[in-house]
C-alpha cells in the first residue's frame, strides 16, 4: 500500500434495493444526462480545427529550391538519424538536361517514409544538410491499408506550383544565413561557375 488509496473488496450479500439494480441504473443515467449541459472537450474535426503550434510536427515535405529543382540528394543522413528506421531511399545520377529537376548531381530516385513507423520526432529535418525535408503542420491522412501508409515521392515532394511554406520552422539565424551567397551551400545551379 504505497498510496493508501487501496480499497478492500468485501464480497457480501446484496441488499434488496441493490438486487433490483434500478437505483444504480438511474444514477448512471443521471451522470450521462448531466454531461449534456457541460462543455464538450472534443471538436467537430474536420469542420473545426484546433490551433497548431508553429513547430507542430506533422506530415513531411520534400522541398524544392527557388528554381523548382528537388533539393534532396539522397545522402542518407535522415535515414541514419531516424530512430524508427522509417526512411528508405535509392539514389540515381542526374543526367545532362535534368539540371532544372534536381539540384545536385545525385538525387533520390525512390524516397519512402513508412508513416506507420514514423514517430514524428523531427530528427530527419535536423539531420538534413540540404534543407530538403521538413515536417509540416499537415496531419497524415488515415487509410484502410498498410500499403497506403508508405509515402513515396509522389506524396512527399511538394508540387512545383503549390510550394509549402516552412519558414515558421526556420530560425531567423538560418533564414539570414541562407541569403548569404558567399556560402556554396546557398548557391543554386545557375549561380555556380564551372571552369
Amino acid at each position: 500500500m504505497l498510496t493508501n488509496r487501496a480499497k478492500v473488496v468485501v464480497k457480501k450479500e446484496l441488499s434488496w434495493s441493490e438486487r433490483i439494480y434500478l437505483p444504480a441504473i438511474l444514477q448512471g443515467m443521471l451522470i450521462t444526462f448531466s454531461h449534456l449541459f457541460k462543455r464538450t472537450p472534443t471538436i467537430k474535426y474536420p469542420e473545426q480545427k484546433r490551433e497548431f503550434s508553429p513547430v507542430y510536427r506533422g506530415q513531411h515535405v520534400l522541398k524544392r529550391d527557388e528554381s523548382g529543382a528537388e533539393r534532396c540528394t539522397a545522402c542518407g543522413l535522415c535515414a541514419v538519424s531516424c530512430p524508427a528506421e522509417a526512411i528508405t531511399m535509392d539514389a540515381a545520377e542526374r543526367k545532362k538536361g535534368e539540371e532544372h529537376l534536381y539540384r545536385e548531381e545525385k538525387y533520390a530516385r525512390i524516397y519512402e517514409i513508412n508513416m506507420l513507423r514514423c514517430i514524428f520526432c523531427g530528427l530527419c529535418e535536423e539531420a538534413c544538410p540540404k534543407e530538403a525535408i521538413f515536417l509540416t503542420d499537415r496531419i497524415v491522412p488515415s487509410s484502410f491499408t498498410r500499403g497506403e501508409e508508405i509515402f513515396g515521392k509522389d506524396k512527399l515532394v511538394e508540387p512545383v506550383d503549390a510550394p509549402i511554406d516552412v519558414s515558421a520552422r526556420q530560425t531567423n539565424d538560418v533564414l539570414e544565413f541562407k541569403k548569404n551567397k558567399k556560402f556554396y551551400h546557398n548557391l543554386t545551379f545557375n549561380d555556380r561557375q564551372i571552369r
Binding site: 545522402c75 542518407g76 540515381a92 545520377e93 548531381e105 544538410p129 551551400h185 561557375q193 571552369r195
Partner: protein, 349 residues
C-alpha cells in the same frame, strides 16, 4: 638504436625511421594524421603538411629545437629527439590551418560523394579543423572527367596528394595519368582523356584519401554505412585475392582492399601489401566467387559501424536468475542458453 620521445612517450626505433613511423609504432592518439603519406608507396608524403609536429630538441648531441614545425613523414628521428604532437597547442593550431587550406577548394559535397563515411578528409576536418572557413571566393570547379569505364574522377574534390600517381608508377606498367599544370590550376588528369586500363589501376580508388577517385560500378549505389563489410578471398592469378566485400542484402555492391588501422591497405597473410587486381575488384561480384571469412572489423568510431553489433554482449538475464531463485527450483533456460546467467562472462558459479 635512436631513442625518440613523442608526447612524453619514449621509444627505441631503428635507424632511418621517420617521426611518423615512430609515432605509429607507439600507436594511439599520438599518431599524426596523414593525407598524402602512404607507407606502402615509396616516395609518398611531404605534400599535404597535415602530419606536422614540433621538434623541441633536435637530438641528444645538438639539443636546439627546430624553429618551424616539420613534416613528420619526411623527417628522420635522431637519437634523443623530443617531439610534440597533440601536447603542443602550436601544432594543433597549425594543423587546423592546414585543414583550412586543404578545404579551400574542396566542394564539401559530402552528401553526394560516395567516399563520405570513409573519407580521410572528413575525419581530418572533423577531428583537427575549425568549424568555419574564412574563404570567401569562388572555389575551383571542374566538369567530371571520364578516365575509363571503372574509375570516376572528380577533380573538384582532389587535394593533390599524389598517391594515385605513385600507385600508377609503382604497381602498374605504364602510367597514363599524372598532375598537369602548376600551382592552383594543377589537376590530376590523363593526357587528352586517355583511359586508365591496367590490371592494378583500381587501387587508385583505395589510396585516394578523398572522393576524387571513386568506383564507377559502386557509384551512388548506396551510402557506405548501409553496406555490410565482409572479408573474403579467392584464388587469383594476378593478385593476393584477399579482399573486403561490401554487401547490401545479398548483393555485393563493391570489392575493395582491406584497410589497416591507419587507413592504408592491409598486409596479406604472406606479409606483402594486399593490393588487388581489377578482375577481383570489378568483375567478381557474386557471392559464389568468394570464400567468405567473416564480418570485417570496423572501428566503432566510424559511421560504418552503425548497426554492426560485433561487440554486443547479452545482458544478465534478470528473469531467469529470479526464476532460478524461486522456491520451486524450476530450471529455466531461454533459447540456446545464451541468456543463462551461468554462461555470462564475469559471473561466478
Amino acid at each position: 638504436m635512436p631513442k625518440v620521445t613523442i608526447d612524453d612517450i619514449t621509444i627505441d626505433v631503428p635507424e632511418g625511421t621517420t617521426i611518423l613511423q615512430a609515432a605509429r609504432m607507439i600507436g594511439g592518439e599520438v599518431v599524426p594524421p596523414a593525407m598524402c603519406y602512404y607507407s606502402k608507396l615509396k616516395t609518398s608524403g611531404g605534400y599535404c603538411r597535415t602530419c606536422i609536429v614540433k621538434v623541441e630538441q633536435g637530438s641528444a648531441k645538438d639539443p636546439r629545437p627546430i624553429p618551424k614545425p616539420v613534416a613528420s613523414c619526411r623527417t628522420n628521428v635522431m637519437d634523443g629527439m623530443v617531439v610534440r604532437n597533440i601536447t603542443s597547442p602550436e601544432v594543433l593550431e597549425a594543423r587546423a590551418g592546414v585543414v583550412e587550406f586543404l578545404l579551400i577548394n574542396h566542394p564539401l559535397d559530402c552528401p553526394i560523394c560516395d567516399q563520405a563515411g570513409e573519407c580521410d578528409l572528413q575525419d581530418l576536418s572533423y577531428g583537427h579543423g575549425d568549424e568555419f572557413s574564412r574563404y570567401e571566393f569562388k572555389r575551383r570547379e571542374f566538369e567530371k572527367i571520364d578516365i575509363g569505364s571503372k574509375v570516376q574522377l572528380h577533380m573538384t574534390r582532389c587535394i593533390l596528394c599524389y598517391r594515385c600517381v605513385k600507385v600508377a608508377d609503382q604497381l602498374t606498367d605504364g602510367r597514363v595519368h599524372g598532375v598537369i599544370n602548376r600551382g592552383d590550376v594543377s589537376e590530376i588528369s590523363t593526357y587528352i582523356e586517355n583511359v586508365i586500363e591496367n590490371d592494378f589501376s583500381g587501387n587508385v580508388i583505395d589510396v585516394c584519401p578523398v572522393g576524387a577517385l571513386t568506383d564507377k560500378t559502386f557509384r551512388f549505389k548506396s551510402r557506405v554505412w548501409y553496406t555490410k563489410p565482409v572479408d573474403a578471398h579467392r584464388d587469383c592469378k594476378h593478385c593476393c585475392g584477399e579482399v573486403r566485400l561490401w554487401y547490401k542484402g545479398d548483393e555485393v555492391l563493391r570489392v575493395t582492399t582491406r584497410r589497416d588501422q591507419f587507413g592504408e591497405v592491409k598486409d596479406t597473410t604472406t606479409g606483402k601489401p594486399g593490393w588487388i587486381c581489377n578482375e577481383c575488384r570489378f568483375d567478381k561480384k557474386e557471392t559464389k566467387d568468394w570464400i567468405i571469412e567473416g564480418l570485417a572489423h570496423i572501428n566503432p568510431h566510424s559511421v560504418i559501424s552503425a548497426n554492426h553489433y560485433e561487440s554486443l554482449k547479452a545482458l544478465k538475464a534478470t528473469v531467469s536468475r529470479q526464476l532460478k531463485a524461486a522456491p520451486h527450483g524450476t530450471k529455466v533456460t531461454l533459447g540456446n542458453g545464451a541468456l543463462d546467467p551461468n554462461n555470462q562472462p564475469g559471473t561466478q558459479k
